[in-house]
Amino acid sequence: MTMDRLGTGIAWTALILVIAFLLLPIVVVIPVSFTESTVFRFPPEGFSLQWYGRIRNVDGLLGALWLSAQIAALSTATSLLLGTLCAIALVRGLVPGAAAITTFMVSPLMLPGLVLGIALLQTMREVGLRDAWWSLYLAHVVITLPFVMRTVLASLSLFDFAMVDAARTLGCSYPKALWRVLVPNILPGFISGALFAFIASFDNYPVSMFLVDVRTKTLPIQLLNYLEISPDPTLAAVSTVLIGLTVIVLILCDRLVGLRRMASI
Protein backbone atom coordinates (compact mmCIF):
# COMPACT_ATOMS: atom_id res chain seq x y z
CA MET A 1 0.00 0.00 0.00
CA THR A 2 2.85 2.39 0.81
CA MET A 3 4.23 1.85 -2.71
CA ASP A 4 0.85 2.91 -4.10
CA ARG A 5 0.93 6.08 -2.03
CA LEU A 6 4.45 6.73 -3.24
CA GLY A 7 3.27 6.41 -6.86
CA THR A 8 0.36 8.78 -6.29
CA GLY A 9 2.67 11.21 -4.55
CA ILE A 10 5.13 11.18 -7.44
CA ALA A 11 2.31 11.72 -9.94
CA TRP A 12 0.86 14.70 -8.07
CA THR A 13 4.27 16.27 -7.47
CA ALA A 14 5.00 15.92 -11.18
CA LEU A 15 1.69 17.52 -12.14
CA ILE A 16 2.23 20.50 -9.85
CA LEU A 17 5.79 20.91 -11.14
CA VAL A 18 4.60 20.65 -14.74
CA ILE A 19 1.92 23.30 -14.27
CA ALA A 20 4.30 25.66 -12.44
CA PHE A 21 6.93 25.14 -15.14
CA LEU A 22 4.44 25.68 -17.97
CA LEU A 23 2.97 28.83 -16.47
CA LEU A 24 6.27 30.38 -15.37
CA PRO A 25 7.28 32.10 -18.64
CA ILE A 26 3.69 33.23 -19.20
CA VAL A 27 3.11 34.67 -15.76
CA VAL A 28 6.41 36.57 -15.47
CA VAL A 29 5.58 38.94 -18.30
CA ILE A 30 2.58 40.34 -16.38
CA PRO A 31 4.46 42.09 -13.51
CA VAL A 32 7.16 43.22 -15.95
CA SER A 33 4.53 45.03 -18.04
CA PHE A 34 3.68 47.32 -15.09
CA THR A 35 7.25 48.32 -14.30
CA GLU A 36 8.50 51.90 -14.21
CA SER A 37 12.02 51.16 -15.42
CA THR A 38 13.01 50.64 -19.04
CA VAL A 39 14.55 47.22 -18.55
CA PHE A 40 12.75 44.10 -17.40
CA ARG A 41 14.61 43.58 -14.17
CA PHE A 42 13.08 41.33 -11.53
CA PRO A 43 11.50 42.26 -9.14
CA PRO A 44 9.92 45.10 -11.15
CA GLU A 45 10.35 48.63 -9.82
CA GLY A 46 7.36 50.85 -9.14
CA PHE A 47 4.03 50.75 -10.95
CA SER A 48 3.05 52.43 -14.19
CA LEU A 49 0.89 51.93 -17.21
CA GLN A 50 3.27 53.75 -19.55
CA TRP A 51 4.11 50.64 -21.57
CA TYR A 52 0.44 50.03 -22.34
CA GLY A 53 0.21 53.61 -23.60
CA ARG A 54 3.26 53.03 -25.77
CA ILE A 55 1.68 50.10 -27.62
CA ARG A 56 -0.07 52.58 -29.93
CA ASN A 57 3.20 54.32 -30.77
CA VAL A 58 5.18 51.25 -31.74
CA ASP A 59 5.51 51.30 -35.49
CA GLY A 60 3.36 48.77 -37.27
CA LEU A 61 2.20 46.87 -34.21
CA LEU A 62 -1.50 47.64 -34.50
CA GLY A 63 -1.33 47.16 -38.26
CA ALA A 64 0.27 43.73 -37.73
CA LEU A 65 -2.41 42.81 -35.20
CA TRP A 66 -5.12 43.77 -37.68
CA LEU A 67 -3.43 41.84 -40.51
CA SER A 68 -3.05 38.70 -38.36
CA ALA A 69 -6.69 38.87 -37.25
CA GLN A 70 -7.79 39.31 -40.87
CA ILE A 71 -5.70 36.44 -42.22
CA ALA A 72 -6.63 34.11 -39.35
CA ALA A 73 -10.37 34.85 -39.65
CA LEU A 74 -10.54 34.62 -43.45
CA SER A 75 -8.37 31.51 -43.73
CA THR A 76 -10.34 29.78 -40.97
CA ALA A 77 -13.62 30.66 -42.71
CA THR A 78 -12.31 29.33 -46.04
CA SER A 79 -11.09 26.15 -44.35
CA LEU A 80 -14.45 25.64 -42.66
CA LEU A 81 -16.14 25.83 -46.06
CA LEU A 82 -13.67 23.59 -47.96
CA GLY A 83 -13.14 21.22 -45.02
CA THR A 84 -16.81 20.72 -44.20
CA LEU A 85 -17.74 20.00 -47.83
CA CYS A 86 -14.89 17.51 -48.06
CA ALA A 87 -15.77 15.89 -44.72
CA ILE A 88 -19.42 15.47 -45.78
CA ALA A 89 -18.29 13.81 -49.02
CA LEU A 90 -15.92 11.48 -47.15
CA VAL A 91 -18.48 10.45 -44.53
CA ARG A 92 -21.64 10.32 -46.66
CA GLY A 93 -20.55 9.77 -50.24
CA LEU A 94 -18.87 6.92 -52.08
CA VAL A 95 -15.45 8.47 -52.57
CA PRO A 96 -12.83 6.32 -54.29
CA GLY A 97 -9.74 6.15 -52.05
CA ALA A 98 -11.45 7.82 -49.09
CA ALA A 99 -8.75 6.76 -46.60
CA ALA A 100 -5.96 8.14 -48.78
CA ILE A 101 -7.84 11.42 -49.27
CA THR A 102 -8.37 11.76 -45.51
CA THR A 103 -4.65 11.28 -44.89
CA PHE A 104 -3.83 13.77 -47.63
CA MET A 105 -6.19 16.41 -46.23
CA VAL A 106 -4.63 16.33 -42.74
CA SER A 107 -1.03 15.83 -43.90
CA PRO A 108 0.01 19.54 -43.80
CA LEU A 109 -0.17 19.15 -40.02
CA MET A 110 2.73 16.70 -40.04
CA LEU A 111 4.91 18.79 -42.31
CA PRO A 112 7.56 21.00 -40.67
CA GLY A 113 6.27 24.58 -40.97
CA LEU A 114 9.51 25.89 -42.40
CA VAL A 115 9.43 23.37 -45.27
CA LEU A 116 5.91 24.46 -46.18
CA GLY A 117 6.94 28.13 -46.03
CA ILE A 118 9.94 27.61 -48.29
CA ALA A 119 7.97 25.50 -50.76
CA LEU A 120 5.26 28.16 -50.98
CA LEU A 121 7.78 31.00 -51.32
CA GLN A 122 9.41 29.24 -54.25
CA THR A 123 6.11 28.40 -55.95
CA MET A 124 4.70 31.91 -55.52
CA ARG A 125 7.84 33.28 -57.17
CA GLU A 126 7.63 30.87 -60.10
CA VAL A 127 3.96 31.67 -60.59
CA GLY A 128 4.65 35.37 -60.21
CA LEU A 129 2.36 35.99 -57.25
CA ARG A 130 4.19 38.79 -55.48
CA ASP A 131 1.36 40.08 -53.33
CA ALA A 132 2.16 39.27 -49.67
CA TRP A 133 -1.46 39.46 -48.52
CA TRP A 134 -2.65 36.81 -50.99
CA SER A 135 0.38 34.59 -50.38
CA LEU A 136 -0.26 34.71 -46.63
CA TYR A 137 -3.96 34.03 -47.08
CA LEU A 138 -3.41 30.98 -49.32
CA ALA A 139 -0.65 29.62 -47.05
CA HIS A 140 -2.81 30.01 -43.96
CA VAL A 141 -5.68 28.10 -45.57
CA VAL A 142 -3.20 25.21 -45.90
CA ILE A 143 -2.24 25.65 -42.22
CA THR A 144 -5.82 25.79 -40.94
CA LEU A 145 -7.49 23.17 -43.17
CA PRO A 146 -6.13 20.06 -41.31
CA PHE A 147 -7.47 21.31 -37.96
CA VAL A 148 -10.94 21.82 -39.40
CA MET A 149 -10.85 18.52 -41.30
CA ARG A 150 -9.91 16.52 -38.22
CA THR A 151 -12.56 17.89 -35.90
CA VAL A 152 -15.40 18.08 -38.43
CA LEU A 153 -14.65 14.56 -39.72
CA ALA A 154 -14.62 13.23 -36.15
CA SER A 155 -17.94 14.81 -35.22
CA LEU A 156 -19.61 13.89 -38.54
CA SER A 157 -18.57 10.24 -38.26
CA LEU A 158 -19.96 10.10 -34.72
CA PHE A 159 -23.28 11.54 -35.91
CA ASP A 160 -26.06 9.06 -36.64
CA PHE A 161 -27.70 10.25 -39.88
CA ALA A 162 -30.77 8.11 -39.11
CA MET A 163 -31.71 10.93 -36.73
CA VAL A 164 -32.23 13.24 -39.70
CA ASP A 165 -34.54 10.67 -41.29
CA ALA A 166 -36.35 10.32 -37.97
CA ALA A 167 -36.94 14.07 -37.85
CA ARG A 168 -38.30 14.00 -41.41
CA THR A 169 -40.63 11.11 -40.58
CA LEU A 170 -41.93 13.23 -37.74
CA GLY A 171 -42.83 15.99 -40.21
CA CYS A 172 -39.71 18.14 -40.45
CA SER A 173 -38.70 19.42 -43.86
CA TYR A 174 -35.23 18.34 -45.03
CA PRO A 175 -33.47 21.72 -44.54
CA LYS A 176 -35.19 22.16 -41.20
CA ALA A 177 -34.16 18.65 -40.12
CA LEU A 178 -30.55 19.44 -41.00
CA TRP A 179 -30.72 22.73 -39.11
CA ARG A 180 -32.48 21.40 -36.01
CA VAL A 181 -30.78 17.98 -35.74
CA LEU A 182 -27.48 17.87 -37.63
CA VAL A 183 -26.17 21.36 -36.87
CA PRO A 184 -26.51 21.29 -33.05
CA ASN A 185 -24.80 17.89 -33.01
CA ILE A 186 -21.74 18.82 -35.00
CA LEU A 187 -21.46 22.40 -33.68
CA PRO A 188 -18.93 21.54 -30.92
CA GLY A 189 -16.63 19.98 -33.53
CA PHE A 190 -17.05 23.08 -35.66
CA ILE A 191 -16.25 25.50 -32.86
CA SER A 192 -13.22 23.65 -31.55
CA GLY A 193 -11.88 23.07 -35.07
CA ALA A 194 -12.31 26.75 -35.87
CA LEU A 195 -10.64 27.81 -32.61
CA PHE A 196 -7.60 25.57 -33.12
CA ALA A 197 -7.36 26.72 -36.72
CA PHE A 198 -7.58 30.40 -35.74
CA ILE A 199 -4.88 30.02 -33.07
CA ALA A 200 -2.61 28.05 -35.41
CA SER A 201 -2.88 30.80 -38.01
CA PHE A 202 -2.66 33.72 -35.58
CA ASP A 203 0.49 32.30 -33.93
CA ASN A 204 2.19 31.04 -37.04
CA TYR A 205 5.76 32.14 -37.49
CA PRO A 206 7.73 29.63 -39.62
CA VAL A 207 5.44 29.72 -42.65
CA SER A 208 4.64 33.44 -42.59
CA MET A 209 8.32 34.29 -42.18
CA PHE A 210 8.96 33.56 -45.87
CA LEU A 211 5.86 35.27 -47.24
CA VAL A 212 5.75 38.68 -45.55
CA ASP A 213 7.18 41.81 -47.10
CA VAL A 214 8.32 45.11 -45.60
CA ARG A 215 4.85 46.60 -45.37
CA THR A 216 2.81 43.43 -44.80
CA LYS A 217 3.88 41.75 -41.55
CA THR A 218 1.87 39.48 -39.30
CA LEU A 219 1.89 39.97 -35.54
CA PRO A 220 4.37 37.19 -34.57
CA ILE A 221 6.83 38.48 -37.20
CA GLN A 222 6.44 42.06 -36.03
CA LEU A 223 6.79 41.08 -32.37
CA LEU A 224 9.97 39.09 -32.99
CA ASN A 225 11.40 41.96 -35.06
CA TYR A 226 10.67 44.34 -32.23
CA LEU A 227 12.16 41.94 -29.70
CA GLU A 228 15.38 41.81 -31.69
CA ILE A 229 15.65 45.56 -32.34
CA SER A 230 14.48 47.26 -29.13
CA PRO A 231 13.53 44.88 -26.34
CA ASP A 232 11.67 46.95 -23.74
CA PRO A 233 8.63 46.35 -21.49
CA THR A 234 6.26 47.41 -24.29
CA LEU A 235 6.55 43.80 -25.43
CA ALA A 236 5.53 42.62 -21.97
CA ALA A 237 2.47 44.89 -22.21
CA VAL A 238 1.53 43.47 -25.63
CA SER A 239 2.09 39.95 -24.33
CA THR A 240 -0.10 40.61 -21.30
CA VAL A 241 -2.90 41.87 -23.56
CA LEU A 242 -2.56 38.77 -25.75
CA ILE A 243 -2.61 36.46 -22.71
CA GLY A 244 -5.73 38.23 -21.41
CA LEU A 245 -7.46 37.80 -24.77
CA THR A 246 -6.51 34.10 -24.84
CA VAL A 247 -7.93 33.52 -21.36
CA ILE A 248 -11.21 35.23 -22.35
CA VAL A 249 -11.50 33.12 -25.53
CA LEU A 250 -10.76 29.92 -23.57
CA ILE A 251 -13.42 30.75 -20.96
CA LEU A 252 -15.94 31.45 -23.72
CA CYS A 253 -15.10 28.14 -25.40
CA ASP A 254 -15.38 26.29 -22.12
CA ARG A 255 -18.87 27.75 -21.69
CA LEU A 256 -19.83 26.88 -25.28
CA VAL A 257 -18.27 23.46 -25.75
CA GLY A 258 -16.35 22.37 -22.68
CA LEU A 259 -12.56 22.44 -22.73
CA ARG A 260 -12.02 18.74 -22.21
CA ARG A 261 -14.35 17.86 -25.04
CA MET A 262 -12.45 20.27 -27.27
CA ALA A 263 -9.05 18.86 -26.46
CA SER A 264 -10.14 15.27 -26.89
CA ILE A 265 -11.04 15.70 -30.55
Binding site: R41, F42, L145, P206, L259, A263
Partner: protein
Protein backbone atom coordinates in the same frame (compact mmCIF):
# COMPACT_ATOMS: atom_id res chain seq x y z
CA UNK B 1 -16.42 -20.13 -62.01
CA UNK B 2 -14.52 -17.23 -63.47
CA UNK B 3 -17.57 -16.27 -65.51
CA UNK B 4 -19.76 -15.93 -62.43
CA UNK B 5 -17.10 -13.89 -60.71
CA UNK B 6 -16.71 -11.61 -63.68
CA UNK B 7 -20.42 -11.14 -64.21
CA UNK B 8 -21.16 -8.49 -61.54
CA UNK B 9 -18.24 -6.38 -62.72
CA UNK B 10 -19.54 -6.42 -66.26
CA UNK B 11 -23.01 -5.52 -65.04
CA UNK B 12 -21.82 -2.35 -63.32
CA UNK B 13 -22.66 0.87 -65.16
CA UNK B 14 -19.80 2.86 -66.66
CA UNK B 15 -17.65 4.83 -64.24
CA UNK B 16 -19.15 8.23 -65.00
CA UNK B 17 -22.61 7.18 -63.97
CA UNK B 18 -21.35 5.27 -60.94
CA UNK B 19 -19.70 8.35 -59.48
CA UNK B 20 -21.66 9.50 -56.46
CA UNK B 21 -22.60 13.19 -56.80
CA UNK B 22 -21.95 13.55 -53.06
CA UNK B 23 -18.29 12.65 -53.71
CA UNK B 24 -17.93 15.81 -55.80
CA UNK B 25 -18.16 17.88 -52.61
CA UNK B 26 -14.64 16.71 -51.77
CA UNK B 27 -13.31 18.20 -54.97
CA UNK B 28 -12.74 21.87 -53.99
CA UNK B 29 -10.74 20.98 -50.88
CA UNK B 30 -8.66 18.28 -52.58
CA UNK B 31 -8.00 20.52 -55.58
CA UNK B 32 -6.96 23.40 -53.35
CA UNK B 33 -4.45 21.32 -51.36
CA UNK B 34 -3.10 19.73 -54.55
CA UNK B 35 -2.27 23.13 -56.02
CA UNK B 36 -1.23 25.09 -52.91
CA UNK B 37 0.39 22.24 -50.91
CA UNK B 38 1.37 19.18 -52.96
CA UNK B 39 2.60 21.04 -56.04
CA UNK B 40 4.89 23.42 -54.08
CA UNK B 41 6.37 20.46 -52.17
CA UNK B 42 7.16 18.61 -55.39
CA UNK B 43 8.67 21.80 -56.83
CA UNK B 44 10.85 22.18 -53.73
CA UNK B 45 12.15 18.61 -54.04
CA UNK B 46 12.69 19.21 -57.74
CA UNK B 47 14.75 22.34 -57.07
CA UNK B 48 17.01 20.41 -54.69
CA UNK B 49 18.15 18.17 -57.57
CA UNK B 50 18.17 20.82 -60.30
CA UNK B 51 21.56 22.23 -61.23
CA UNK B 52 22.75 24.49 -64.01
CA UNK B 53 23.42 21.59 -66.33
CA UNK B 54 20.27 19.62 -65.49
CA UNK B 55 19.99 16.89 -62.88
CA UNK B 56 22.45 17.00 -59.97
CA UNK B 57 22.83 15.61 -56.47
CA UNK B 58 25.20 18.42 -55.62
CA UNK B 59 22.91 19.83 -52.90
CA UNK B 60 22.79 16.48 -51.12
CA UNK B 61 26.55 15.99 -51.45
CA UNK B 62 27.04 19.41 -49.89
CA UNK B 63 24.68 18.63 -47.01
CA UNK B 64 25.59 15.00 -46.32
CA UNK B 65 29.29 15.22 -47.19
CA UNK B 66 30.10 18.26 -45.08
CA UNK B 67 31.07 17.78 -41.42
CA UNK B 68 29.46 21.12 -40.55
CA UNK B 69 26.03 20.19 -41.92
CA UNK B 70 26.26 16.68 -40.48
CA UNK B 71 26.86 18.41 -37.15
CA UNK B 72 23.77 20.57 -37.75
CA UNK B 73 21.65 17.48 -38.45
CA UNK B 74 23.12 15.89 -35.30
CA UNK B 75 22.23 19.01 -33.29
CA UNK B 76 18.62 18.84 -34.46
CA UNK B 77 18.28 15.14 -33.70
CA UNK B 78 19.90 15.59 -30.29
CA UNK B 79 17.60 18.51 -29.50
CA UNK B 80 14.60 16.42 -30.55
CA UNK B 81 15.67 13.42 -28.44
CA UNK B 82 16.48 15.41 -25.30
CA UNK B 83 13.25 17.40 -25.56
CA UNK B 84 11.23 14.21 -26.01
CA UNK B 85 12.96 12.43 -23.11
CA UNK B 86 12.56 15.43 -20.78
CA UNK B 87 8.92 15.90 -21.71
CA UNK B 88 8.28 12.19 -21.13
CA UNK B 89 9.93 12.09 -17.69
CA UNK B 90 7.94 15.11 -16.50
CA UNK B 91 4.78 14.50 -18.47
CA UNK B 92 4.13 10.80 -17.88
CA UNK B 93 3.49 10.91 -14.11
CA UNK B 94 1.74 14.28 -14.47
CA UNK B 95 -0.70 12.83 -17.00
CA UNK B 96 -1.64 10.14 -14.43
CA UNK B 97 -2.42 12.70 -11.74
CA UNK B 98 -4.40 14.76 -14.25
CA UNK B 99 -6.44 11.73 -15.33
CA UNK B 100 -7.10 10.60 -11.75
CA UNK B 101 -8.17 14.04 -10.52
CA UNK B 102 -11.90 14.40 -9.97
CA UNK B 103 -14.58 17.03 -10.44
CA UNK B 104 -13.82 20.72 -10.43
CA UNK B 105 -10.12 20.17 -9.65
CA UNK B 106 -9.70 18.27 -12.89
CA UNK B 107 -11.29 21.03 -14.98
CA UNK B 108 -9.00 23.65 -13.42
CA UNK B 109 -5.85 21.52 -13.70
CA UNK B 110 -6.71 20.61 -17.26
CA UNK B 111 -7.23 24.27 -18.17
CA UNK B 112 -3.82 25.13 -16.68
CA UNK B 113 -2.09 22.49 -18.82
CA UNK B 114 -4.08 23.53 -21.87
CA UNK B 115 -3.68 27.32 -21.59
CA UNK B 116 0.06 27.41 -22.50
CA UNK B 117 -0.79 25.69 -25.81
CA UNK B 118 -2.83 28.69 -26.86
CA UNK B 119 -0.31 31.35 -25.81
CA UNK B 120 1.91 32.59 -28.62
CA UNK B 121 5.35 30.96 -28.84
CA UNK B 122 6.91 34.42 -29.14
CA UNK B 123 5.37 35.45 -25.81
CA UNK B 124 6.61 32.25 -24.16
CA UNK B 125 10.14 32.58 -25.50
CA UNK B 126 10.17 36.24 -24.43
CA UNK B 127 8.98 35.27 -20.94
CA UNK B 128 11.57 32.50 -20.78
CA UNK B 129 14.21 35.11 -21.49
CA UNK B 130 12.98 37.20 -18.53
CA UNK B 131 13.15 34.12 -16.29
CA UNK B 132 16.73 33.32 -17.22
CA UNK B 133 18.31 36.79 -17.50
CA UNK B 134 21.21 37.74 -15.27
CA UNK B 135 18.83 40.09 -13.42
CA UNK B 136 15.87 37.76 -14.04
CA UNK B 137 13.53 35.91 -11.72
CA UNK B 138 15.53 32.68 -11.38
CA UNK B 139 18.77 34.41 -10.40
CA UNK B 140 16.82 36.69 -8.02
CA UNK B 141 15.20 33.66 -6.38
CA UNK B 142 18.45 31.71 -6.01
CA UNK B 143 20.27 34.78 -4.66
CA UNK B 144 17.60 35.36 -2.03
CA UNK B 145 17.44 31.74 -0.98
CA UNK B 146 21.22 31.75 -0.73
CA UNK B 147 21.88 29.07 -3.29
CA UNK B 148 24.30 31.29 -5.17
CA UNK B 149 26.34 34.36 -4.26
CA UNK B 150 26.54 36.00 -7.65
CA UNK B 151 24.11 35.91 -10.60
CA UNK B 152 24.77 32.98 -12.92
CA UNK B 153 24.73 33.24 -16.69
CA UNK B 154 21.93 30.96 -17.88
CA UNK B 155 20.56 32.43 -21.08
CA UNK B 156 22.32 31.28 -24.26
CA UNK B 157 23.42 28.03 -22.60
CA UNK B 158 22.43 24.59 -23.82
CA UNK B 159 20.66 23.84 -20.56
CA UNK B 160 18.45 26.90 -21.04
CA UNK B 161 17.69 25.82 -24.59
CA UNK B 162 16.59 22.32 -23.48
CA UNK B 163 14.47 23.75 -20.66
CA UNK B 164 12.82 26.21 -23.05
CA UNK B 165 12.11 23.51 -25.63
CA UNK B 166 10.61 21.17 -23.03
CA UNK B 167 8.53 24.08 -21.78
CA UNK B 168 7.08 24.76 -25.23
CA UNK B 169 6.36 21.14 -26.22
CA UNK B 170 5.44 19.51 -22.88
CA UNK B 171 1.62 19.82 -23.31
CA UNK B 172 1.87 17.76 -26.52
CA UNK B 173 3.24 14.91 -24.40
CA UNK B 174 0.85 15.25 -21.44
CA UNK B 175 -2.43 15.46 -23.38
CA UNK B 176 -2.21 12.22 -25.46
CA UNK B 177 -1.03 10.21 -22.42
CA UNK B 178 -3.78 11.80 -20.32
CA UNK B 179 -6.48 10.75 -22.79
CA UNK B 180 -5.23 7.13 -22.78
CA UNK B 181 -4.88 6.92 -18.98
CA UNK B 182 -8.43 8.23 -18.60
CA UNK B 183 -9.72 5.25 -20.57
CA UNK B 184 -7.94 2.60 -18.46
CA UNK B 185 -10.28 0.76 -16.16
CA UNK B 186 -8.76 1.10 -12.64
CA UNK B 187 -10.13 -2.37 -11.87
CA UNK B 188 -7.32 -3.92 -13.95
CA UNK B 189 -4.86 -2.79 -11.28
CA UNK B 190 -7.17 -4.01 -8.52
CA UNK B 191 -7.50 -7.39 -10.26
CA UNK B 192 -3.73 -7.75 -10.50
CA UNK B 193 -3.40 -6.77 -6.82
CA UNK B 194 -5.98 -9.36 -5.83
CA UNK B 195 -3.92 -11.95 -7.68
CA UNK B 196 -0.91 -10.97 -5.58
CA UNK B 197 1.04 -8.73 -7.96
CA UNK B 198 3.34 -6.21 -6.28
CA UNK B 199 2.82 -2.50 -7.13
CA UNK B 200 5.99 -2.44 -9.23
CA UNK B 201 4.97 -5.59 -11.13
CA UNK B 202 1.47 -4.13 -11.62
CA UNK B 203 2.90 -0.95 -13.04
CA UNK B 204 5.38 -2.58 -15.43
CA UNK B 205 3.11 -5.45 -16.55
CA UNK B 206 -0.37 -3.89 -16.52
CA UNK B 207 -0.42 -0.10 -16.45
CA UNK B 208 2.64 0.74 -18.55
CA UNK B 209 1.71 -1.51 -21.53
CA UNK B 210 -1.83 -0.09 -21.52
CA UNK B 211 -0.52 3.49 -21.73
CA UNK B 212 1.99 2.79 -24.54
CA UNK B 213 -0.31 4.02 -27.36
CA UNK B 214 -0.48 7.42 -25.65
CA UNK B 215 3.29 7.44 -25.10
CA UNK B 216 3.97 6.66 -28.77
CA UNK B 217 1.52 9.38 -29.88
CA UNK B 218 2.99 11.97 -27.51
CA UNK B 219 6.64 11.10 -28.15
CA UNK B 220 6.31 11.12 -31.94
CA UNK B 221 4.46 14.45 -31.82
CA UNK B 222 7.02 16.09 -29.52
CA UNK B 223 9.98 14.70 -31.44
CA UNK B 224 8.76 15.82 -34.85
CA UNK B 225 7.87 19.29 -33.54
CA UNK B 226 11.17 19.68 -31.67
CA UNK B 227 13.38 18.43 -34.51
CA UNK B 228 11.88 21.07 -36.81
CA UNK B 229 11.64 23.88 -34.23
CA UNK B 230 12.85 27.27 -35.35
CA UNK B 231 11.63 30.09 -33.10
CA UNK B 232 12.71 28.73 -29.70
CA UNK B 233 16.27 27.67 -30.64
CA UNK B 234 16.94 30.85 -32.57
CA UNK B 235 15.68 33.06 -29.72
CA UNK B 236 17.30 31.13 -26.86
CA UNK B 237 20.60 30.21 -28.54
CA UNK B 238 20.98 32.06 -31.81
CA UNK B 239 23.76 31.11 -34.20
CA UNK B 240 25.71 29.18 -31.60
CA UNK B 241 23.48 26.13 -31.94
CA UNK B 242 22.50 25.71 -35.58
CA UNK B 243 19.61 23.39 -36.32
CA UNK B 244 18.31 22.16 -39.67
CA UNK B 245 15.52 24.74 -39.61
CA UNK B 246 17.98 27.55 -38.96
CA UNK B 247 20.22 26.44 -41.83
CA UNK B 248 17.19 26.30 -44.11
CA UNK B 249 16.01 29.76 -43.12
CA UNK B 250 19.51 31.14 -43.64
CA UNK B 251 19.94 29.41 -47.00
CA UNK B 252 16.69 30.85 -48.36
CA UNK B 253 16.55 34.27 -46.70
CA UNK B 254 20.21 35.35 -46.54
CA UNK B 255 22.31 33.22 -48.87
CA UNK B 256 19.66 32.72 -51.58
CA UNK B 257 21.13 29.24 -51.96
CA UNK B 258 18.05 27.29 -52.99
CA UNK B 259 19.88 24.09 -53.74
CA UNK B 260 21.33 23.89 -50.23
CA UNK B 261 18.03 24.91 -48.58
CA UNK B 262 16.07 22.48 -50.74
CA UNK B 263 18.40 19.57 -49.89
CA UNK B 264 18.23 20.43 -46.16
CA UNK B 265 14.43 20.61 -46.40
CA UNK B 266 14.39 17.17 -48.03
CA UNK B 267 16.50 15.74 -45.18
CA UNK B 268 14.16 17.28 -42.58
CA UNK B 269 11.17 15.99 -44.54
CA UNK B 270 12.68 12.48 -44.56
CA UNK B 271 13.19 12.60 -40.77
CA UNK B 272 9.59 13.78 -40.27
CA UNK B 273 8.24 11.07 -42.58
CA UNK B 274 10.24 8.38 -40.78
CA UNK B 275 8.79 9.48 -37.44
CA UNK B 276 5.22 9.46 -38.77
CA UNK B 277 5.59 6.04 -40.45
CA UNK B 278 7.47 4.56 -37.48
CA UNK B 279 4.86 5.78 -35.02
CA UNK B 280 1.95 4.43 -37.06
CA UNK B 281 3.67 1.04 -37.42
CA UNK B 282 4.20 0.92 -33.65
CA UNK B 283 0.58 1.92 -33.01
CA UNK B 284 -0.60 -0.87 -35.29
CA UNK B 285 1.56 -3.42 -33.48
CA UNK B 286 0.29 -2.20 -30.12
CA UNK B 287 -3.30 -2.45 -31.34
CA UNK B 288 -2.68 -6.07 -32.47
CA UNK B 289 -1.19 -6.93 -29.09
CA UNK B 290 -4.17 -5.36 -27.37
CA UNK B 291 -6.51 -7.45 -29.54
CA UNK B 292 -4.60 -10.66 -28.77
CA UNK B 293 -4.54 -10.09 -25.01
Amino acid sequence: MSATLAAPAAALPPLRRRLDPMALLALPGVAFLSVVFLLPLLLLLWSSIRGEGGFTVNGYVRVLGDAYYIGVIGNSLQLGLITTAGAFILGYPAAFALARARGYAQVVLFALVFLPLTVSIIVKSFGWGIVLRRDGILNWLMLNVGLIERPVRMIFTEGALYAGMINVFLPFMVLPIYSVVRMIDPRYGDAAATLGASPWYRFTRVTLPLTLPGVVAGASLVFSLAVAAYVTPSLLMGDRYMTMSMVMAKAFLNLRDWQLGGAMAAVLLAVAAMVVVGASLMQRRLARHGGAA
